[in-house]
Symmetry: C2
């Protein structure tokens, strides 16, 4: 287990395989792993990361394409393990750089991706594959293996080159009785393991969680009890890609004589796709429009919507804030059939509190088994290690604490510590003569998408935002005549976010005027120097008088 300050990697030895991640190690999201062999590159997944509160105003965070930007012509293909945003969301941004990179993935994965590419007006070359299929992509032979996850049609990939075999699990768990009967292909894992797997890249998300993830089916009796007790309307929020969860709700609605409507753009779109492709099975007449649902008795209706993470603009938040056509009251039941992504607690509880205050009965994972995770827990990971018997392990998909916990699981089933590689984004691992080791580092950072800008917003801009957001700003404006050495307009003070009365500034306006006049009289003619003097005076005043540290923006213009 190594990590530290590393230098640029050496040239890749002939016949060796190189692996590095441009995102997804040490964080949850923006998964993207690059494989290099014989001068060619293969990319597995290309996802986005969602910002947290220290990254205000940011829409998305992309993997850093920097290390491969000059080598896009060497890319054989992008292989997508499944259709979640953190695995496919950055594909449009990569295709903007080279549109004809072939995309490989299962039908549902590619269908969700197509919808996204359409929004970006990108027409891609894509090839849908099924579990069991093997594709030759330049020097890479890629076998796709079925895995079970919180979205249908997920796959692991085994990548074979002359250097050896790498098995990448993607996101997975091992529900032994999944709704679609498609279980994680342990037989395939075993076959590969018996033949010899040089490196196993393993999902770490739930490595800290002991035991086994319950089956998706274990939710059925809980939903049944909720439906049985519900007197009024049922509103259920979930992830817009969780086809099996929605399938269960639709079936439960049928059993209890309720009709179902979808609300929310992504929910409507994804369920349409899943239904068209046969992943979502809907008995005739079960699904109605929201308008039709509104004409029905409350106790015959179910609304399925987005907003389970407390997103302020989503339907559920707006209902909780009484800012939506749908109103809820004491007879209604709200179900948040979803995980609670760390960092979203305050938003989610704000929604739950709002709904509870309106009298609704709120069922969520904190008080009922209405969600099971999509990622293998520690118990499942042990099975995988024992079946695959990998020569090396690289824990992937997780924050550092998850990677570390996964490393400990690998070690607990007998894998030597020096064969477990904990790597950060950009850390380069080479497989040479059957031995994998860290050989260097390629610089990768966070690439922010904000409005139309990709990569333009830097950490310095975010630091400014955090300062402005915590303290507000004071702007001091004056126009000076350098020749006459006098202030011809202002000083005026404009402050936002401070919560101070206008009169509070009277004192300091006078002080600034004196400073400007004295400085001009002393022969200062540099506006930058004048601005610095004003900045210091105002900063000192607001810190002493009000114990604040706003951003101070002096603007001295020459008339």
């Amino acid at each position: 287990m190594i990590h530290g300050e590393l230098s640029a990697p050496p040239e890749l030895a002939p016949g060796a395989l190189r692996i590095f991640a441009l995102g997804g190690l040490g964080e949850i999201g923006r998964n993207m792993t690059v494989f290099e062999f014989g001068g060619r590159l293969l990319i597995v997944d290309c996802g986005v990361l969602f910002p947290e509160e220290t990254q205000p105003g940011i829409d998305l965070i992309l993997p850093d394409f920097g290390p491969i930007r000059d080598r896009l012509d060497d890319v054989e293909a992008i292989v997508l393990t499944h259709g979640h945003e953190d695995h496919i969301g950055a594909v449009p941004y990569l295709l903007r750089l080279r549109q004809d990179i072939p995309l490989l993935g299962s039908r549902l994965t590619l269908a969700f991706l197509e919808a996204k590419l359409k929004e970006h007006r990108i027409k891609a070359r894509s090839l849908d594959v099924v579990a069991g299929q093997v594709e030759r992509l330049g020097p890479f032979s890629v076998e796709f293996l079925a895995v079970n996850h919180s979205i249908p049609d997920a796959m692991a990939v085994a990548i074979t080159t002359a250097a050896g075999v790498v098995l990448h699990t993607g996101d997975f768990k091992m529900d032994q009785v999944p709704l679609d009967g498609r279980i994680t292909d342990l037989n395939g894992f075993a076959r590969l393991g018996d033949a010899g797997v040089d490196i196993l890249l393993v999902d770490s998300t739930n490595a800290e969680v002991p035991g086994f993830v319950p089956s998706e089916r274990d939710i059925i009796p809980v939903l049944d009890a909720v439906f049985l007790r519900a007197e009024g309307r049922i509103i259920l929020a979930s992830f817009a890609s969780h086809v099996h969860r929605i399938q269960q709700v639709i079936e439960m609605a049928g059993l209890h004589g309720r009709k179902v409507a979808f609300v929310g753009r992504s929910m409507v779109r994804n369920m349409g796709i899943a239904r068209d492709l046969g992943y979502l099975k809907v008995p005739g007449g079960t699904i109605v429009t929201v308008e039709e649902l509104n004409g029905m008795p409350d106790d015959e209706s179910v609304l399925i919507c987005t907003g389970s993470q407390g997103e302020p603009m989503a339907v559920l938040s707006r209902i909780a804030n009484r800012d939506h056509a749908i109103s809820v009251g004491p007879k209604d039941t709200i179900v948040l059939a979803s995980s609670l992504i760390p960092g979203n607690e305050n938003s989610v509880y704000r929604v739950i509190n709002g709904l509870a205050k309106l009298g609704a009965n709120v069922v969520h994972k904190g008080n009922a088994l209405v969600h099971v995770s999509g990622h293998a827990s520690a118990g499942e990971l042990r099975y995988v290690y024992n079946i695959v018997k990998p020569r090396h392990v690289i824990p992937v998909h997780g924050e550092w604490r998850h990677l570390r916990a996964n490393a400990e699981i690998a070690h607990s089933v007998g894998i030597d510590l020096d064969r477990i590689i904990l790597a950060d984004d950009g850390v380069v691992v080479d497989l040479v003569d059957g031995r994998a080791s860290i050989v260097g580092y390629v610089p990768v950072g966070l690439v922010y998408v904000d409005g139309a800008s990709v990569g333009g917003v830097t950490d310095a801009a975010l630091k400014d935002r955090r300062m402005l957001g915590e303290e507000g700003f004071i702007s001091i404006v004056a126009a000076v005549d350098m020749i006459e050495s006098k202030v011809v307009a202002g000083p005026e003070i404009h402050a936002r976010g401070l919560g101070l009365d206008e009169q509070a500034f009277d004192e300091v306006v006078g002080r600034v005027r004196v400073i400007l006049e004295e400085s001009l009289a002393d022969g200062v003619t540099d506006t930058y120097e004048l601005q610095q003097r004003v900045r210091r005076a105002v900063g000192k005043w607001v810190s002493t008088s009000h114990r604040r540290k706003p951003m101070i923006v002096p603007v001295i213009v020459e008339a």
Copy 2:
């Protein structure tokens, strides 16, 4: 269970008791309940609330003293149930309005409060009381009852007036084998219950959690295992007021031949107080200074510090960021022996990831039983309801979801729904002729402390901060000569937090100049109107060209 838009309460009937909260209902923190009888007021607790991410830059949130501001002379006393910030933190701010209000509480509670009052340079009148004691405070007779909580010396209060008996649990749980042997006084609760309790105010914090809180002692074997396995230094973070938790760590250190040092201002101060008063028992020679500890072998030392909530300036965060004299490596063990307060997840996990990356073994409530809650779970609450047999219940201390869950527990043990009162802050409940009901509402809001300002920062200022924090601002400055109808200086553009190049603004600067010149030529002489025109133009440009919505601050000064 009622709640809604209410009008001002009627005059209080003679012989009736009035209860309303100025904070602490529908939120966790700033607990403060006012009791009124015969024209006199009694206050139970006066705490602060800590801000969340939608309240950037705010230091503290106080209860709204507005409804009693004109009646401070009627206040008989402030009764404090225990020494946590959310119960005592706002006392200095109330005493600023009337310094001689008597304070009653246990010794430890008052000692923690004194330290705080000293910082505010306030000298208070205080009376320490012990469990079992009864104090006459004007028309109120107040009995103090021992309760068990995550701080020693916590108490419930029974308030008797001619109108009836109210039992207020404060924060409590029911550890049956607490470290100090001081169990929640169920015998007292039973005696009061048998005599008749008109209203029970009950801690709701853990009402959503089924079962019973494990004993503080259940942590011992876990700590023992941690100490046994630890090869290097042990660093343990906890709340600075959790005397019993720290007691256990000190004893464990003794058993394993390690010395203990405290780091962090509040930890050092509180443990000093607790030790002086005999609440913390320290075998001779166990405690050393940090300097002494640094001279000892790692495997003979334990550092106890603050920062268990991921506070960025606390010792633990700084160690994780390698920004502290204490460095950790692969042999060291870090223990977060604390809860994870909702909203702090990202900060806490950031610290855990940082420490894990340095190679340290991080033990926290997510992977070991190193914390037990201080609040009664659903199982314990049922005991209390059945023992007290209250005529009415008002769930307190919790977000709305907790109050509601507590109401359901009360109902499940046979209390009629119309005797369970769910009230928001400011909702007024009168107890008249043995019957309690909601009679009106007194307006209460959130009072923000920011630097030297108490109540000056409004929600409008916070809205500005949020906008600035997400989008930054563009300031456009120009000086105009109204007589000559010309622009004499500028326009200049200053932007912060946008992450746009300076050249990006060239185009719009020209456009603003044209707008100003044309407007002046058209005879516009109102700077406000000029500013509006500039604002619209710049807003439209940045939205169209960059898909951003920063704050736009046009400043046109007259030269």
